[in-house]
């Protein structure tokens, strides 16, 4: 009987933990279908008539809030900016980071470890520490307020991350597999492309996903280094909060929309994350 009591307690513990993490998300999802009035009611309403007004307003760029003037938002442009910045950053990171990770994993060269560590140390510096000098430099050389500049700065966050994750995966691949492929008559590049990269795919996928999330969620760099023309959703959402009104429904709706791409990407990449392909390849 004691086992049953334990399992019941465990069940409630799980429910509590899941509630703790999922409830805010569920409630925000809920809020995005409510009017501001319904959200601000003292006793929260559980049953209401869902409205798509927030979503339509977000899409069309203007929304009338009861009792206040019409509000204009540039959320659509922010969303496009976010996509450009995140996809751009991850692409550049993959292009530079994967070959670099391979080099660090396979070849021992003078100062290699130091370079790898220096790259990692970019992650130690608080963004606020470097943002002011960067801002000055970028204004000077005319890079302020461009996608290129932001994607470049985002590399400070994404490149070390990908480099260090993927490097570990490359190190786990036995060099003998690559040698075998070359002895078959393939060139070095073919063995890199056909053997090393496919075998490190779970690592590359996981690292790309993390990079995408970091880039998508970045706030400080985009706030300081860009105007509203290129700012992503994280910064754009600030505009929702005005002196005259805080449209909670609209904010909730913005959150739901901005979480969706990451969520979809995570689900899509999941199958690569669990691929334990290298198991059993080499006699251990």
């Amino acid at each position: 009987m004691s086992i049953n009591v334990w399992s019941i307690l465990k069940f409630f513990a799980y429910v509590a933990i899941i509630m703790f993490f999922l409830f805010p998300i569920a409630w925000i999802f809920n809020m995005s279908f409510m009017t501001n009035d319904e959200i601000l009611r003292k006793v929260p309403v559980l049953f209401y008539e869902p409205t798509f007004k927030n979503y339509i307003g977000l899409w069309e760029g203007e929304i009338a809030i009861e009792g206040f003037a019409t509000m204009y938002v540039y959320f659509k442009q922010n969303l496009i900016n976010s996509a450009i910045l995140s996809v751009g950053s991850v692409s550049v990171t993959l292009l530079l980071g994967v070959p670099a990770a391979y080099a660090f994993a396979r070849y021992k060269f003078k100062g290699g470890e130091d370079i790898a560590f220096t790259l990692l140390s970019f992650r130690f510096a608080p963004a606020l520490l470097i943002i002011l000098p960067l801002n000055l430099y970028f204004s000077e050389i005319g890079l302020y307020d461009s996608y290129f500049a932001l994607i470049w700065v985002y590399q400070l966050i994404t490149l070390p991350l990908l480099l260090w994750i993927v490097r570990g995966y490359f190190e786990d691949i036995s060099p003998d597999i690559e040698y075998a492929y070359r002895l078959d008559g393939h060139s070095w590049f073919q063995s890199f492309w056909k053997i090393s990269i496919p075998l490190a795919k779970p690592g590359i996928a996981a690292a790309s996903l993390l990079c995408f999330i970091y880039a998508w969620n970045n706030f400080v760099f985009a706030l300081i280094l860009g105007s509203s023309q290129i700012q992503p959703v994280t910064v754009g959402a600030l505009a929702f909060i005005t002196a005259s009104a805080i449209p909670y429904g609209l904010i909730a709706c913005g959150i739901v929309v901005s979480v969706l791409p990451t969520l979809i990407l995570a689900l899509f990449i999941q199958k690569y994350l669990v691929q334990g392909l290298s198991l059993g390849a080499i006699k251990g």
Partner: protein, 264 residues
């Protein structure tokens, strides 16, 4: 004229001389066994021959051409690795077909199919061609790796202790089967092992590697009966041969031996 000519080959790692001034002449079609205790540099030697490592000094000549500086893919050499080194993301079929796809870019698919099946049937792995390496037993992996090294009929096949990671029963079977299979290809085989039984059973000639060079190169029988040194003699035989200090004298037409005060 020998086919594969190793001339004063040396390789060291930092201050550690693994191979120093190694010489050998290997004939075409010969089954040449390199035998030595672990750590004697057998695998390093194979890596020098395959081009995975470059020699510090000395020459490797194949068919009268110096191949020292050639990349692995430019040498007409194939290799079966001790750890099999199969491509985990490809099925056994694609593993075996890999050399065919690389070297003969225009080989039609049906010819590849034919060749892969031929070698697979010869090595009795025809039924596992559609499986991934992780689904194969060690014996099957080892046969797949052998098939991959033989399918393109290379001039030289390097086998790095291929029977080490398979269980005793398969090892025994393969010891009998391997020479037959390899004879069909009429290829030069350099076979590495640290098991003297394997060396005795398989080799046309055995080269005994320790101290960085070949100390004996001879037929199995000659090495067994007339080892050049005590070290070589100790390497052959299980349990190892007994040895003791003795004084040998020739007196009155007899040979007399003194061992620890005992007189024979």
């Amino acid at each position: 004229m020998s086919y594969l000519d190793l001339d004063n080959l040396s390789k060291s790692f930092k201050d550690d001389k693994i191979i120093s001034n190694l010489n050998a002449k290997i004939e075409k079609g010969e089954f040449f066994v390199v035998f030595g205790p672990s750590g004697s540099g057998k695998t390093v030697l194979l890596r020098l021959l395959s081009g995975i490592m470059m020699a510090d000094s000395g020459e490797i000549k194949m068919d009268n051409q110096i191949i020292n500086e050639l990349h692995p893919e430019e040498r007409d050499v194939s290799m079966a690795f001790q750890n099999f080194a199969l491509y985990p993301h490809m099925k056994a079929y694609e593993n075996i077909a890999s050399p065919l796809r690389a070297k003969n870019k225009n080989m039609p698919e049906n010819e590849i199919h034919e060749k892969v099946n031929e070698i697979a049937n010869l090595l009795k792995i025809g039924h596992v061609l559609n499986q991934f390496p992780k689904e194969l037993s060690n014996g099957q992996k080892q046969r797949t790796s052998l098939a991959r090294s033989l399918v393109d009929k290379p001039s030289v096949v390097l086998l790095d202790d291929p029977l080490r990671n398979v269980d005793a029963k398969i090892r025994f079977e393969m010891r009998l089967e391997l020479p037959k299979v390899l004879k069909e290809f009429n290829t030069t085989v350099i076979y590495i092992t640290q098991d003297f039984r394997e060396a005795m059973a398989l080799g046309d000639r055995i080269a005994v590697l320790y101290d960085g060079k070949f100390n004996d190169i001879d037929s199995p029988k000659n090495i067994y009966q007339n080892p050049s040194s005590l070290t070589t003699a100790k390497l052959f035989g299980d349990p190892t041969i007994n040895n003791f200090d003795a004084t040998i004298k020739k007196q009155n037409g007899f040979v007399e031996v003194d061992v620890n005060g005992e007189h024979f």
